[in-house]
């Protein structure tokens, strides 16, 4: 039997490559200076889902939430082997904290009705590791965090090895489950050239809308809103026929209660942001000589740092 998997993926700023201009003078993050990347452990989650499909059959749907440029992350999923991409994009979802995000994702997952939801253990921008557990809570799925090896899938039972910090646990549970996957679980496959050829023109509706001007021939000004909409619909249909339309859902499409989305759905508020400022240059320089080192050791002893 096959298993239907949904993989939650996030596009994140590359916090590991922070350079001098990553912070603006007012202490806020200069997103433009940071490249957007595929959250690393979400790649491990995707890989695990692809392995499940290869071993047992079924489907892999990549799900993401964010602004329209996040479509790029879903294309990456298609290049690597996902069957389908779904983007949740809606201005009313902006500024969602982890709780609101998990609520919104839960609505999409309920529409997709998977057997297994896979998330990366955590995203590198916030490092909270909260959305996976919170999403499991909202879905009522059994939660397995920190999975480093999927040992067995047998009918309605999943068995996995979890990293519990000071060791591991072998656990099993009935489906449906939500697992969070660590980087130790696997080595993500690279994009496949053949799939890049097929999916490089995969687009979401909002991307098609952005391209509308280029699609329409002649004088763009002469087109009415209806004509433009018809052109967008026509092009989306063409992409859909080719199997390369990335689904795009709004909060309304999913029947979301807006009180639980975005700013109003987020209990946590930012009180203050400070950039980490280095003091710099306040240390005492010790010459790298025998005398220098010896006098340092002497001093550390006399002020009882040593001894």
């Amino acid at each position: 039997m096959g298993y239907n998997c949904v993989v939650c993926v996030k596009q994140v700023p590359d916090t590991k490559r922070v350079t001098g201009d990553a912070m603006k003078e007012d202490g806020t993050v200069n997103r433009a200076a940071l490249p957007a990347i595929f959250n690393p452990e979400d790649l491990n989650a995707l890989e695990e889902a692809l392995c499940i499909r290869e071993a047992h059959g079924g489907t892999v749907t990549a799900l993401s939430m964010g602004a329209p440029p996040v479509s790029e992350t879903l294309r990456e999923c298609l290049y690597r082997g996902a069957d389908r991409g779904v983007l949740i994009t809606d201005r009313k979802a902006a500024a969602s904290d982890t709780l609101a995000t998990s609520y919104i994702l839960s609505l999409a997952v309920k529409k997709l009705q998977p057997d297994i939801v896979l998330c990366g253990r955590q995203a590198i921008d916030g490092d909270t590791a909260q959305v996976g557990p919170q999403l499991a809570g909202k879905l009522g799925f059994t939660l397995m965090t920190y999975v480093e090896e999927l040992v067995e899938l047998d009918g309605q039972t999943i068995r996995a090895k979890r990293n519990v910090g000071n060791g591991w646990e072998l656990v099993s549970a009935k489906l449906p489950v939500l697992i969070t996957v660590t980087e130790a679980a696997n080595t993500p496959r690279p994009p496949a050239a053949r799939r890049i050829m097929k999916y490089k023109k995969a687009r979401t509706r909002s991307e098609v809308e952005q391209m509308a001007e280029n699609l329409l021939e002649g004088d763009f000004e002469n087109y009415t809103a209806e004509l433009k909409a018809a052109e967008v619909a026509k092009h989306c249909q063409t992409l859909s026929d080719k199997g390369i339309l990335i689904d795009q859902w709004s909060l309304e499409d999913m029947g979301a209660d807006l009180d639980w989305c975005g700013m109003s759905g987020s209990p946590t508020k930012v009180h203050r942001i400070q950039s980490v400022v280095l003091k710099g240059g306040q240390y005492r320089e010790i010459p790298p000589t025998e005398e220098g080192v010896a006098s340092l050791v002497e001093q550390l002893v006399s002020d009882h740092t040593l001894g």
């Binding site: 490092d127 557990p133 809570g137 060791g167 930012v270 942001i273 001894g307």
Partner: protein, 353 residues
Amino acid sequence: MIDTNKQGEVWIFAEQEEGNLSDVPLELMTKGRQLAETLSVPLGAVLLGDAVSPLAGKLIAHGADKVYLVEHPKLAQYQTTGYSKAICELIEQYKPQICLYGATPVGRDLAPTVASTMWCGLTADCTDLQIGDHTDPISKQEHKNLLQQIRPAFGGNIIATIVNPSRWPQMATVREGVMPMSEPIASRKGQIIQCQADLDELDLPLTIEQTHRRPKRVNLKAARVIVAGGAGIGSRKNFDVLWELAGCLGAAVAGSRAAVDLGFIDHDHQVGQTGTTVRPALYIAAGISGAVQHRAGMQDSAKVLAINTDPKADIFSVAHYGIVGDFMEVVPKMIKAIRGGSDVKEAVASSQA
């Protein structure tokens, strides 16, 4: 979610494993005590497990005014659903204003599940907590005495202070090792409140078939002096000189994430955002560039000595003493100075005694 409740208690989750409390809940007690005193409310410890009542006294000695004790055979081993259900029931009943958890594998699994069920806010991995006021930037509404949850974000490049003004309890996980543990006072008095948990088979959806716990071989947090190496050490073999220095200082050896990833030293020894947070009397950083993730784990050390060939390395920004030079030359000189000076030897020997 519960309503805001200014008389609500401050709670900490007293994580235990096989009937033993780790350092984390005891570190939380110190901070919890401060918060509770600032708010003039009791400090409660929530203790779940099977036959764990002997731990209640220890929690009281470390500062708990009340211990909410939930004993149940189904709570013998941690699993998400049962534990979160029991805690949610307690929160509904007693309406605490603050709930703190250690940012451990268990705490980071449990707290978001409780937050999801309670529809309340949660801040991960805090390094400090304070009580303070907050004015909503849009509505201008003022909130007095909120829990200010302070944490690094964005890979450690910013420090964010988060509040949860209305959907309570205010919950946070707190990073291990960032808050000092206070000494127990055996004469402290507290109240033990026996609570029931209504758990059935559905609350234990996981079957834990095997557990394999590996005792932690190093206790970096307890070390008075730490000798740490980074990618600049170059190899596992080159780490030997750091082990030797540590040996003559009675120090622990640590590594940056880069050194661990490169296989120079085991993960138990890792200091930094994804490792252990330490605050020794002296932290010797050799061949460590000082990425913000590493500094987050050691910058509260009383003294920092940085040894690096690159005078522009970030590690110097948190150093008290800096040696610009190759550790392969500098460290042997230190070893020689320590072994050579009899005063030094005696001082080091007495510190190890």
